[in-house]
Symmetry: C2
DNA sequence: CGTTCGACTTGAACACGTTCAAGTCGAGGG
DNA sequence: CCCTCGACTTGAACGTGTTCAAGTCGAACG
């Protein structure tokens, strides 16, 4: 059956994610992953085309845990500031075990080569989920924005989350305290900007932003060649 | 003298940058760089601690060329939109020969590990230069913003440039046309936001943004361990 | 029971980035 | 002239990610 190898695959994922957490990306070798999973080196490559493919698995896990942790923290009727703040902090909470891995995380997660990029087609589902979480933030919070903004705001918030992740990865302050402060500082600003959309001056801004988002369109498909 | 090896070093940089441009990051091996520079493999490591160190050299070159190309394009008294647009397009122009390299470019350029990151201490000078270019954009353009914003805007524009670079790297549209459109769409929005700072509502936003930037402080020092 | 087939598994092999003990070589001092 | 010293150079060697020809093994078929 096509099911026989499922357990092997699971053992590989378990071993990889544990080693990533304990030793970081670089120090975790494919040989150790294979050994700890009780299979041969070559066999690991039967299930995962590359080491980065295993990182993709981590990406999915972090995403899932983010949803699970953030969901219960959302409060219907709370301000956008409060709910967005909760979701962003939850994101950091979920990623923090992989901090030492972090530098290499973006390294693997950002570029469009192959699967791992949040912009790639392979991550489309996961990205949709992440944007969905932001959509929940928007719809659940008090003072829901008007039509056009309601559609675009989740994606914009997701982009903000991405930016904060970049800061987190490069944040060497103890416990990444600076990133926490960044979240606390940025969320009210975002809320204020959203509130601005009610004024005439803000409405024009929203229109322009929406136009640019349409023009630039969906995140690009994966790049053809250009490995690594 | 300490000068004897300077020519060897130059030959290595020349070979590396040329190969990066022609074959991309992955396909360029240290062995080929060394061979084409007419030195041994080990000798390349006498001058550059790692392959990424050679990328740092590329980073510096691109930076320098960006300044040289963008400077003459600035028009005193033109709008912020026009000048910012010119500088951003110049950035893409300068980077485009390294597009195939691109995916790996961010891979190497973003994470804080060691030298190459724009956030690292080693890149502080280069970053200062990049922010300086944005400062020139601000001071040269018509309608210079008021005090606090005048200080912070260059850094914010540099961050915007970074974001656009991320888009460029992941942009698979032919000729990266989407990124060009993104620039054309985003620059008027930025100008509009800057103009907003004159209104009371904008003034409060500026104050908050400045506070966050202070709190988060200078970009972090390089991360201790966490290689790659 | 023998045969075939395909999912799964193996370990050797490859090219790579990086390290290092050993060497070369020219200038300066005795 | 010999010696020393330090900047520079070398190629072998290590461990890595990845590939691949060759196997194992159980189920389905005759």
């Amino acid at each position: 059956m096509a099911e026989r190898g499922a357990e092997t695959r699971d053992r590989l994922v378990d071993a990889a994610l544990r080693l990533f957490r304990e030793d970081g990306y670089q120090a975790t070798t494919m040989r150790r992953i294979a050994t700890e999973a009780g299979v041969s080196l070559g066999n690991a490559y039967y299930y995962f085309a590359s080491k980065d493919d295993l990182v993709h698995e981590l990406y999915l896990l972090v995403q899932r845990e983010h949803r699970e942790l953030a969901g219960p923290r959302l409060r219907r009727g709370a301000t956008l500031t409060e709910n967005l703040r909760a979701v962003l902090h939850a994101g950091i909470d979920v990623m923090s075990p992989y901090r030492e891995f972090g530098s290499s995380f973006l390294t693997v997660a950002l570029p469009p080569s192959s699967r791992t990029s949040p912009f790639s087609a392979d991550s489309a589902a996961a990205r949709e989920q992440a944007v969905g979480l932001m959509r929940e933030v928007v719809t659940v919070s008090r003072g829901r924005p008007s039509g056009v903004l309601l559609d675009r705001l989740p994606t914009l918030l997701w982009l903000a989350y991405l930016g904060i992740t970049v800061h987190w990865v490069t944040d060497s302050s103890p416990g990444q305290a600076r990133t926490r402060q960044l979240i606390d500082g940025v969320t009210p600003i975002i809320s204020r900007l959203v509130g601005l959309a009610r004024l005439p001056v803000g409405r024009r801004l929203v229109t322009d932003v929406a136009r640019v988002m349409d023009l630039v369109g969906a995140p690009a498909e994966p790049v053809p060649a250009a490995t690594r």
